[in-house]
């Protein structure tokens, strides 16, 4: 390493977390550069409102800044923890303010979308990009009605009953679709993790 400041690009998740725990704003900036786009996208997906999504993204990063000790590696990876913070906070906001997003977006990332292929589009980490590709392709392979039910459950935090109401479908049909969607995804992802150790 030449003399001069350490290069934050070299920081992995553990170092980012340690840096944030040490109140280093440069580590927080690097954390944002790694995961800010995903966190914002999750919030926007739930809230369908750019300024609310910005608010949630800020709250997520400030929460992490104040109490990064809430994160335990045992509970999962940093990226999924951050994304679920964004999802949960966004859904809380929906409920607290009784916001009804205009229409329900029920689509997932497009399996043929260009940002799947752009190496700089998602993350510097190749591993995460591959994981994202596998997941999107697995969701893409689900029938459209299962994708829709899964989307309403995850991104809108809807119960079976609420989904049935929103779609005008029988409760039993909704339950079956959601269960099948999750079972197929589980199989696809477990198969992939075997073939991509």
């Amino acid at each position: 390493m030449p003399g001069g400041p350490v290069n934050l690009d070299d920081w992995d998740d553990e170092r980012l977390i340690a840096g944030v725990a040490g109140a280093r704003t440069d580590a927080l900036a690097a954390l944002y550069d790694h995961y800010g786009r995903l966190i914002f996208s999750v919030a926007l997906r739930v809230l369908n409102d750019e300024s609310l999504a910005e608010e949630v993204t800020q709250d997520v990063f400030i929460q992490v800044w104040k109490k990064v000790s809430l994160y335990h590696p045992d509970q999962g990876r940093l990226v999924t923890w951050l994304a679920s913070l964004s999802r949960n906070r966004s859904i809380d906001l929906l409920r607290r303010r009784s916001i009804r997003p205009e229409g329900h977006q029920m689509s997932w990332a497009d399996g043929s979308s260009p940002d799947l292929e752009d190496p700089a589009a998602v993350e510097p980490e190749v591993e995460l990009r591959l994981e994202r590709q596998r997941l999107i392709r697995a969701i893409d392979a689900l029938p459209a009605e299962q994708q829709a039910v899964l989307s309403l459950a995850y991104f809108q935090g809807m119960s079976h009953q609420q989904i049935a109401g929103a779609l005008g479908e029988p409760l039993g049909t909704v339950k079956t679709r959601l269960r099948l969607a999750m079972q197929k995804l589980r199989q696809a992802l477990e198969r992939d993790s075997v073939s991509h150790p």
Partner: protein
């Protein structure tokens, strides 16, 4: 009864939080006594945890990054510590200081390292590190206040694996807004930043130091006063120095 009726078909929806209250409590009751269903649930939770990665990506407005950093700058280190992460008590720090100023037998260094671990034990990184090596494997380097800050003293506790450490500083003057302390690390004449930090009203700070190259490679340590956020190279008064 266990085994009479598993809740397998409800677990995918439970992992997503989509069950109604009555179904949910039924599932939880069963999960409490059925390890098989618990394992199944974990598999579905792993799927649910991945779902946000499949969101269509959007680009946030460029101002968002700075807005977050500005807000973070307003959350002072003191208020960070007022939460679950309570800081060390001054009396303990004074004992720590006395033990180091006295001629230091090996046990004193072990004591310092142990005390540092106890005081800072809230941090997951250090917690994981202390789980295996004995405390005596820590290396402790004392930093002394310079003429610019004669009351200041600090200890650099380097972890057993040499990859990270903790700077504990006391007696540093609180800085005016817009300024922070910055730690510098030197090895073979090469300098790296160890990060910026602020002190609380009592002049105390504990700062995690984590560098891409092993911290143990650095032999000399210094702290200077820099503009908020730090500088690429030292510009302000040096307040602490140590190492060999």
């Amino acid at each position: 009864m266990i085994g009479e009726r598993h809740v397998l078909e409800m677990l995918p929806a439970y992992a997503l939080g989509s069950l109604d209250a009555e179904e949910k409590s039924g599932v939880e009751e069963h999960l409490g006594e059925c390890p098989a269903c618990q394992r199944e649930l974990e598999a579905y939770q792993a799927v649910a945890a991945q779902l946000p990665l499949a969101v269509p990506l959007q680009t946030p407005p460029p101002r968002l990054r700075q807005a977050i950093l500005d807000r973070a700058g307003q959350v002072s280190p003191a208020s960070r510590r007022s939460g679950a992460r309570a800081g060390p008590r001054p009396a303990l720090l004074q004992r720590l200081g006395r033990s180091l100023r006295a001629p230091a037998p090996a046990w004193a260094l072990v004591g310092v390292a142990l005390l540092a671990v106890v005081l800072l034990g809230f941090n997951l990184v250090l917690l994981r590190q202390v789980a295996s090596p004995p405390a005596s494997a820590f290396r402790v380097i004392q930093l002394a206040g310079t003429d610019s800050a004669p009351q200041a003293s600090a200890w650099m506790v380097v972890s057993a694996d040499g990859r990270s450490g903790t700077l504990i500083a006391q007696g540093l003057p609180a800085l005016p807004p817009g300024q922070q302390y910055q730690l510098w690390l030197n090895r073979n004449g090469q300098r790296a930043s160890g990060g910026v930090f602020s002190v609380d009203a009592a002049g105390y700070a504990s700062e995690w130091v984590y560098t891409p190259v092993p911290l143990a490679d650095f032999k000399q340590f210094g702290v200077t006063v820099e503009p908020q956020g730090g500088s690429p190279a030292p510009t302000g008064a040096r307040v602490l120095a140590g190492g060999g």
